[in-house]
């Protein structure tokens, strides 16, 4: 007779483990860091913008964010829970590093370092306060990065590396679209960034590491083959976006490139593949995953087109994180009730169609009607003073000018009010004086790089006033 130890459970375990899942994710993120280094560092430096520091900036951001996350978690356990956790625990049991790496990749390139530290600490704390790894409702990386982006949104140009800031006007493709009042034309949305291919490869302004759709697709395939992610979420998410944009295309007579524009911009694929599929914060049942994907698609498009936020991906994922509690609850209630599931599916597809009609009412495929308006016109002898308003970067009638004519010439241009954020650059470049001095040859006056649209609109307003004056 021989004695043995007794244990409950089954005695064969699969090879997949939580740590292999998490580190597979990290492996997928390495190409993104490399690409970010190329796009935000090497490429501008080669072209003579910025110094060597720029090359290491993306990597530095990722490292700072991860380091802060690890330290925060260590201190949290040490100070609040009075437990000393080993490094091994932090790396292989609570995966403190993951939110940090994600934060490093989804924040703007010009974020100040103190903000990264603050954001990462908040991310880590949000996870810990909800109960630690496995119990958090909200994706910590999203909490941290949204915190950073919301604070940082006041500082413009944040998404662009110095090269882009100098050559591409406007901002990210989506904020460019919001700024141009949802005029959907290829020239307006895609041309400033080259072609859709640069959207695909990721050569567009955007957060540090999320722009490359190609890398997102490759990682999706890798993660799918390794059975790491819940593939139903990204698939239904992206298909919902495709369907909504298709309906927009059909109702508003927009070219089919618009579908690709919607999918490839705004870090949608990065969000769909990495953020929305976070196992802890996404729905568990298959049906719930499909519904979450559809919700994400609708929310993203609604936020993009119906609110003043240009980028909708991160916010909608955070919203769906909260809804996930309800989705999981109903997954339990609806177990085995396939007909109700079918009804819900039909309703959500109807919601997709309905929302796409609502969204498409917001956009147009033509340049805006002329919003140029003469507010007042006073004549005192030889001097005529116009007060005019016109379209600016921030929307219709966002620029108000006072233009003074004497004789046949403009003598003075003054900005009465403007909500344009780029107006500082106009002042810094003495652009108003340049317009005055080049008034006979405005067509050949170059726009200022970095605020092309604002300078273009200014020129337009001045030209129109001049026409009126000369009549």
């Amino acid at each position: 007779m021989k004695k043995f130890k007794v244990r409950k459970g089954n005695f064969m375990k699969s090879k997949n483990s939580t740590s292999s899942m998490m580190y597979n994710l990290l492996v997928c993120l390495i190409p993104f860091i490399i690409f970010a280094t190329y796009k935000n560092g090497i490429y501008p430096v080669i072209n003579g913008y910025g110094n060597l520091y720029l090359v290491f900036k993306p990597l530095l951001y990722v490292m700072i964010a991860s380091f802060v996350c690890i330290v925060t978690e260590y201190l949290y356990y040490l100070v609040i829970k009075k437990e000393k956790k080993s490094i091994n625990y932090l790396f292989s049991e609570s995966f403190a590093i993951i939110p940090g790496v994600f934060i490093g990749l989804i924040i703007p390139i010009n974020t100040p370092i103190w903000l990264i530290i603050l954001g990462s600490a908040i991310a880590s704390l949000s996870k810990l306060l909800m109960g630690g790894f496995g119990k958090n409702t909200l994706n910590p990386a999203l909490v941290g990065s949204l915190f950073i982006i919301v604070i940082f949104s006041s500082l413009t140009g944040g998404y662009m590396n110095p090269l882009e800031a100098d050559t591409i006007s406007g901002a990210t493709p989506l904020s460019n679209m919001t700024a141009s009042s949802y005029v959907i034309t290829y020239d307006n949305l895609v041309r400033p960034y080259g072609s859709l291919l640069s959207f695909f490869f990721g050569n567009i302004p955007g957060a540090i590491g999320e722009t490359s759709s190609l890398l997102c697709l490759l990682s999706f395939i890798y993660l799918l083959l390794n059975k790491v992610i819940k593939w139903r979420i990204p698939v239904s998410y992206v298909s919902t976006v495709i369907i909504i944009s298709l309906i927009m295309c059909l109702t508003k007579d927009i070219g089919l490139w618009f579908i690709l524009f919607n999918v490839l911009s705004g870090g949608l694929l990065f969000g769909a593949v990495f953020m929305a599929t976070d196992p802890v914060t996404s729905p568990i049942s298959h049906f719930g995953q499909v519904i979450a994907g559809i919700l994400l698609g609708i929310l993203t498009m609604v936020i993009r087109y119906l609110t003043s936020f240009p980028e909708g991906v991160l916010i909608s994922i955070l919203i769906v994180n909260i809804i996930t509690i309800a989705i999981n609850y109903f997954s339990i209630k609806l177990f085995n009730k396939n007909y109700i599931k079918l009804i819900i599916l039909v309703v959500s597809v109807l919601a997709v169609i309905l929302s796409s009609f609502v969204i498409s009412s917001r956009v147009s495929n033509k340049e805006l009607d002329d919003t140029y308006k003469i507010i007042s016109k006073t004549k005192e002898g030889n001097v005529t003073t116009y007060q005019v308003s016109g379209r600016g970067y921030a929307g219709n009638n966002s620029i108000k000018l006072e233009i003074v004519f004497s004789g046949n010439n403009i003598t003075k241009i003054e900005v009465i009010s403007s909500s344009d954020t780029y107006m500082n650059m106009i002042y810094n470049n003495n652009y108003l004086e340049k317009i005055v001095s080049n008034q006979d040859d405005l067509d050949n006056l170059d726009t200022i790089s970095g605020c092309t649209y604002t300078s273009k609109y200014l020129k337009e307003i001045v030209e129109k006033t001049k026409e009126d004056y000369l009549k």
Partner: protein, 417 residues
Amino acid sequence: MNKPVKISSNVVIDYTICKYIKPEYIYIPLENKNGIMYKHLVKEGDYVYKGQVVAINEDINFPIHSSVSGYATIGSNKIMANGKKIKCIVIENDFKEKYEKSKLIVKEKYSKEEFVNALRENGITGLGGSDFPTFLKYNIDKPKYLIINAVECEPFISCDKAVIHNYSDCILEAIDMIMEIMNIPKAIIGVKKSNLDSVRSFEKYIGTYPKIRIGFVKDAYPNGWERNLVNDLLGVSYDKYPTEKGIIVSNVSTIYAIYEMFKYNRPLTERVITITGPGIKNKRNVRVKIGAMVSEIINNLDGYNKLKNPIFIAGGPMMGNSLPIDDVIITKDLNAVLVIEDNFEKNLPCIRCGKCIEVCPAGIYPVFIMNSCSDIHKLNDLYPNKCIECGLCSFICPSKIEVREFVRMAKAKVNDK
């Protein structure tokens, strides 16, 4: 239906069957693993013949026989494969293998009623592990299909494969006889695609039997589960038992037991079990007496290898139970004994990845059941009693949580209510 999971073991075992049929004592537990009580029919000090009924399940008149001859005593408590200590009838073997005289007449022809009755009288149960009396299955009108379960999907276990390797001709003959008696038009032998040895063994003789064919199932776990097998082979799903749709499913070892009943008219007293695992020196399929002690057989197979952290499992690695000692009674439903290194890993919190939902062959939500174990109302919505305890949820869990134990708990709770 969810996709089954491929699980493989790398322990090689050969299919020749060695015999160990001379145990010193035989233990006959008075309760089976499903909790059915048996009434003992022998008194202390009685002489018991081989094949004599020593206990009976009075509800369905189902007997248990002695597998040796000798003097009986009553009362020793021994561990069964499910870990319970049960009161047993103990028979001291006198190695004479004496039969009662009336048992030695071999019948040539059976009618259907006689056949069903013979199955009952000879105590034939499902040898696949269910311990379900076989005669109940065969007692149906107009069966359409006979499916022979030769899938044996759990890793490590190979007793069915060994039986096929050695007795494929006998099995086919028995199938043919059953089909004739029961008037079943078709029979399908379900075999794993990768199990070439069994396919070859059957193919040697199957040409003689035009009504029997081999059906292949994917090499995955748990494809040997009745419901999966019937669905894979015939595309039929059923509510509770396959007999509803006129389908009889029998394990191939059971068929071989029926063959021996036909041939020798003797009750089921022996079976083949697999004794394997890295902790066993001589890994073999052994033909043993039902009621013998596992420890005695392992000692006769050169004993144990030294392992760091050995664990003794009655049954397969997925569905078996870990037991504290190796003094375990071999019952009709015990198909394997494993001694392996305990691979217990520290478990992490559930990350809600949903992999257990993806693999669950019963189509239930193990993770939700686990998380709402305390909430009986939620549990009622989740049907934990559909669980077949295959253990795939525990197998696949990346956080190494023993999900099945929670589902078992929930199952017990729902059943209690």
